[in-house]
Symmetry: C2
Subunit: 210 residues, 2 copies
């Protein structure tokens, strides 16, 4: 019963934070949508900041978990590893598109919670991308290039569909929650990896990796 | 004197909206930073929504103006036109990085103002990108591909550095307000145009364009 209430609160918070922004949503709005009283929210999350922190951690724990899991098999090749990470992260974001959308928006506001999240999760994310790019350079799979600039591009491609969901739907008529989008867009990001990140020269992978 | 006050209000609003978000900023905060009284803000902008609308329009009028201006010389080639538009938009965003950053964040919140802005400026932006891509396909400069998916990628690359300025500075140590960033990142977007958008087959441009 208690867990049901907690889940309902998180679900309501994600939906309202997504639609109206974090600052534009009150604890009372969330309580009303979740059909609980405000004391129940206080019991589980202390206050609105606690709820925001919970949403950030919920999102990034799984996000980084996916990166870690796939990075473990980096020895199969940097390009292969990056392609699988991108596929997993895109799938994760599509499945949780409202949460993704509001997390990315709120991450752009300067606050204590955001700084804490960045100093743990964003640094971890950077660490894995950096490792993959470094391996890719070393194994001659990727063209040498500035790692921060590669991260900007890759994250731009990965985040864009969720940064502005109204624009996607109402201007481009593209729906990031549909499986068709995920398949099609993944091909585009993989194409970016093949064309701009990878070297033109075909390499004998087996010889280099081992 | 009056115009000075108006300018000071806009400048203060951009800075506060950028740092604390639109909903996290009060008219009183803006008045205090701009060193005017709240009645002066009411006189120039009616209310906070009026001020937001002004910022959106200020940003997009110039943004679309730049696209229009360069699109006029599309006959020099679609690739050339797109590269010049990208250079101009990136420069504009770098020059106005706080405004850009908060405009993109607030555009992701669903509101009446945002819907109005999208139905004018975002549609115009889409129109120009669409025209350029269509010309590029027609003239065999670009690989045939879904236009909305190309717009997502191009906008992702263009918007990313401004969507999360704290992340850029504190995690990647990249500073989008510096000329070095603009030069280096422009090369990356041009590389994307060359490698993923353009066909591999060199074409006799003169013959096709006329």
């Amino acid at each position: 019963m208690k867990n049901n209430a907690k889940e309902a609160i998180v679900k309501a918070a994600i939906s309202l934070f997504h639609a109206n922004g974090y600052s534009g949503t009150s604890i009372r709005d969330i309580a009303s949508l979740a059909k609980v009283n405000t004391a129940t929210i206080a019991y589980h999350f202390n206050n609105k900041t606690g709820l925001l922190e919970y949403c950030f951690m919920y999102f990034f724990e799984k996000y980084i978990g996916k990166m870690e899991e796939i990075y473990a098999s980096i020895d199969r090749g940097a390009k292969d590893c990056l392609k699988r990470i991108v596929a997993n992260l895109l799938h994760y974001q599509c499945e949780n598109n409202q949460l993704t959308s509001f997390v990315y928006r709120e991450m752009s506001v300067d606050s204590q919670v955001v700084r804490e999240i960045m100093s743990t999760y964003s640094l971890k994310e950077k660490y894995y991308f950096q490792k993959i790019f470094e391996r890719g350079f070393e194994w001659n799979e990727f063209r040498p290039h500035s790692i921060p600039y590669l991260i900007i591009q890759l994250k731009g491609l990965l985040m864009m569909p969720f940064m502005n969901t109204h624009y996607m739907r109402e201007v481009l008529y593209v729906f990031p929650n549909e499986p068709f989008f995920e398949q099609k867009y993944l091909k585009d990001i993989h194409f970016w990896i093949d064309k701009t990140l990878c070297t033109d020269i075909p390499i004998n992978k087996g010889a280099i990796i081992k």
